[in-house]
């Protein structure tokens, strides 16, 4: 089980900001995770874009990075506050 956080506009893709999913065996890293989620949510490539960065357990990761059971993975579209 991983906890997926769809930040910002990506919540519109998944329909919820927080989702728990059991990882299929073949999803072991961020590249496979993106492909799997993009298909699962029919996101049409939105989750494959390099402008979407991933954070695992509250750290932005250099990709591809390992994804393990129990991880919290945040999918982060371009940020900006102020």
């Amino acid at each position: 089980m991983v906890q997926l956080l769809f930040m910002g506009k990506l919540a519109d893709v998944s329909g919820a900001m927080m989702v728990e999913r059991v990882l299929p065996d073949e999803v072991q890293d961020t590249a496979a995770l993106r492909t799997w989620l993009d298909e699962a949510y029919q996101a049409d490539g939105a989750l494959l874009e390099p402008s979407v960065r991933l954070a695992i357990n509250s750290e932005i990761v250099a990709e591809p990075a390992k994804v393990r059971d129990g991880d919290e993975v945040a999918l982060m579209p371009p940020v900006g506050g102020g």
Binding site: M7, G8, S58, I60, A74, P77, V79, G80, G81, G82
Partner: protein, 149 residues
């Protein structure tokens, strides 16, 4: 030094508290950003700011450290709203104090460029036309690029 607030705050009050602790700094620059009452698409009813703690706070803290390494600052303050807010309300307050006028100006300017383009926030503007997520403009990224990596 850094606060993410869910409730409205008053930038003038924040400046008063900041000034009370900077005895000796000759120069204080403050910036405050407020929810605009109208966007290109019409009146704005609410602005929603999403953060991702502790990533958001950690990032801002690092930006403040970069500013302190680059300019001789005696104090820095960053306040950022999160959650839902109304037109006119303050979204962000940044203050920088230094013995040197230009250091205070540049540090506040730098921190605002960081907050606009790199701080871990997502913004959703809601108006009569519905809601839309707002990303930094090309101009914001250009402003940010003035400071180098």
């Amino acid at each position: 030094m850094i606060d993410l607030l869910e409730a409205p705050f008053d930038p003038a009050e924040a400046l008063g508290e900041f000034n009370a602790q900077i005895a000796g700094a000759g120069a204080v620059v403050s910036f405050s950003g407020h929810v605009r009452p109208a966007a290109a698409s019409g009146p704005v009813t609410t602005l929603y700011l999403q953060a991702y703690s502790p990533l958001t706070e950690n990032g801002i803290r690092e930006a403040v450290e970069r500013a302190k390494a680059r300019w001789p600052l005696s104090a820095v303050r960053v306040i950022h709203r999160i959650g839902e807010m109304q037109p006119g309300e303050a979204i962000v307050f940044v203050a920088a104090a230094s013995a040197h006028r230009r250091a205070a100006f540049e540090a506040a300017d730098f921190l605002m460029d960081y907050l606009k383009t790199e701080a871990v926030f997502w913004k959703k503007e809601t108006g009569a036309q519905g809601a839309s997520w707002i990303e930094p403009r090309t101009e914001d990224y250009k402003d940010r690029a003035r400071w180098g990596a």
